[in-house]
């Protein structure tokens, strides 16, 4: 094996190990955290960063061919879908939890109608 092969091997190992450790953190956090938004955040981290790192490692290991392009498309698709689903969970939690202010501070970015003063409760118009 030439030196380039070794560098590639080390890079692949580093990416995969880092991705796997983030998956481990995700599973640990999902069972450990008590509050919904914390769990949502750690799950989204695993679904974006963990999967992204693992797939980048696999892409490096695979070299330049069609499979790498497909893996890149998978990464793009997952990075589109996963954060949006977490965003929807967070929004639903915000519109249904009446005591959300006990858990976190809400910053109002854009004032909307009447509900904005109460932290966008009710219809969730924030």
């Amino acid at each position: 094996m030439g030196i380039i092969e070794w560098v590639r091997f080390v890079l692949v190992c580093a990416f995969l190990l880092f991705g796997m450790s983030i998956f481990f953190l995700e599973i640990f956090g999902v069972y450990r955290f008590k509050y919904v938004l914390n769990r949502m955040q750690i799950a989204a981290t695993g679904d974006t960063l963990g999967i992204g790192l693992c797939l980048v490692g696999l892409m490096i290991a695979n070299g330049w061919n069609a499979t790498t392009a497909k893996l890149a498309l998978v990464v793009i698709f997952l990075w589109c879908a996963s954060p949006v689903s977490s965003h929807m969970i967070a929004r639903l939690q915000m519109s249904t939890d009446k005591r959300i202010l006990d858990h976190c501070r809400i910053v109002i970015l854009r004032k909307n109608k009447k509900n904005a003063g109460k932290g966008g409760r009710g219809h969730g118009d924030i």
């Binding site: 698709f77 589109c80 879908a81 965003h87 929807m88 639903l92 519109s95 249904t96 219809h123």
Partner: protein, 320 residues
């Protein structure tokens, strides 16, 4: 009521009693059997205390559990034997597994002429490069027809149980928990605008390319159904109804099923081997080839897509 006998005579006959029982006018058990609703079992505190005291007394005075060496020995032995028993059962099961014939061996009962014929003659008989799709859609087309019927009947059952009238859907539009549902989310809409066309395209590609590459009607249809669900979640039912409402759903579903049935019946009646079949097999590897595989893939795909979307819509608002 009897037309031949008088009413008083008729009331004594077996037929009178039987038809009364059939019509549900008289329950045979009422009056003849003791019927009393069961009381809920509630334990009083005094009984609980007594039970606890009895148990403690038994443990301390009868068995003398603090100083009883025999009892401790028995408990120890009990645990040991339970562990040994579990290990023995596990060992027996594992040993049995090791005696099973190995996977992929040559002299297996599953390795018979049927699979060999499928592999060697599959391309020639069905014209599909993807042998799996060619097999389930031409050799075993009636099996797949049954599966498609199962999907149809499943949606029919869910519709019978969950379908609500049109007026009630409008009435309940803004009531109770629907209020909390995030509507018209900008982020979701932008992402849906990007993803939905791609999901649809990929699903259609998988259906149309089912006889050439892995995939087929079931997986492609599931993908299209997921795309429709994403569209509804982002833009709401009002925009969905512009191109997919109950009428379209009924047409697509019934047409797909009927066409599938007709094609399969025709194919099997004419010999099932492409003998005198009107549908040509074509050149293997081209997009317009594979005989009946391609049209059946399309029908199965539309059926599965409709089923997926119908389940979502029925469970979410009780209507399509």
């Amino acid at each position: 009521m009897s037309r031949i006998r008088k009413q008083s005579e008729y009331e004594k006959t077996f037929a009178y009693r039987f038809f009364r029982w059939m019509g549900g006018e008289k329950d045979a058990f009422v009056g003849n059997m003791e019927m009393r609703p069961q009381k809920e079992y509630v334990e009083e505190e005094a009984t609980i205390e007594e039970r606890m005291r009895d148990r403690r007394q038994a443990m301390e005075e009868v068995y003398d559990s603090g100083h009883n060496r025999e009892l401790r020995f028995f408990n120890w032995l009990y645990r040991c034997f339970s562990i040994i028993f579990c290990i023995a059962i596990v060992a027996m099961l594992v040993l049995t597994v090791s005696y099973l014939p190995s996977v992929g061996g040559e002299d297996k009962p599953t390795n018979n002429q049927v699979s060999e014929t499928y592999i060697t003659d599959g391309l020639k008989d069905t014209g599909a490069v993807n042998i799996v799709t060619g097999m389930i859609l031409s050799y075993r087309a009636f099996d797949t027809f049954g599966e498609t019927n199962v999907l149809f009947i499943a949606t029919c059952c869910v519709m019978i149980m969950l379908m609500v009238d049109e007026d009630k859907i409008r009435e309940n539009k803004d009531s109770n928990d629907r209020m909390f549902e995030p509507k018209n989310d900008v982020i979701l809409q932008v992402v849906a605008k990007l993803l939905v066309p791609m999901v649809f395209l990929f699903g259609i590609y998988i259906i149309l390319n089912g006889h050439l590459s892995p995939g087929g009607g079931f997986s492609g249809g599931a993908m299209i159904g997921a795309g429709m669900i994403l569209y509804v979640a982002a833009f709401g039912f009002d925009r969905m109804e512009k191109f997919f409402n109950e009428k379209v759903y009924k047409c697509v579903k019934v047409t797909a099923l009927i066409c599938y049935g007709c094609i399969v019946t025709y194919y099997f009646l004419t010999g099932a081997n492409g003998l005198a079949c009107l549908i040509p097999l074509g050149v293997p590897g081209r997009i317009l080839s594979g005989g009946i595989t391609l049209p059946i893939n399309i029908f199965v795909g539309s059926e599965v897509a409709c089923t997926m979307y119908a389940f979502y819509a029925l469970f979410r608002r009780g209507g399509l």
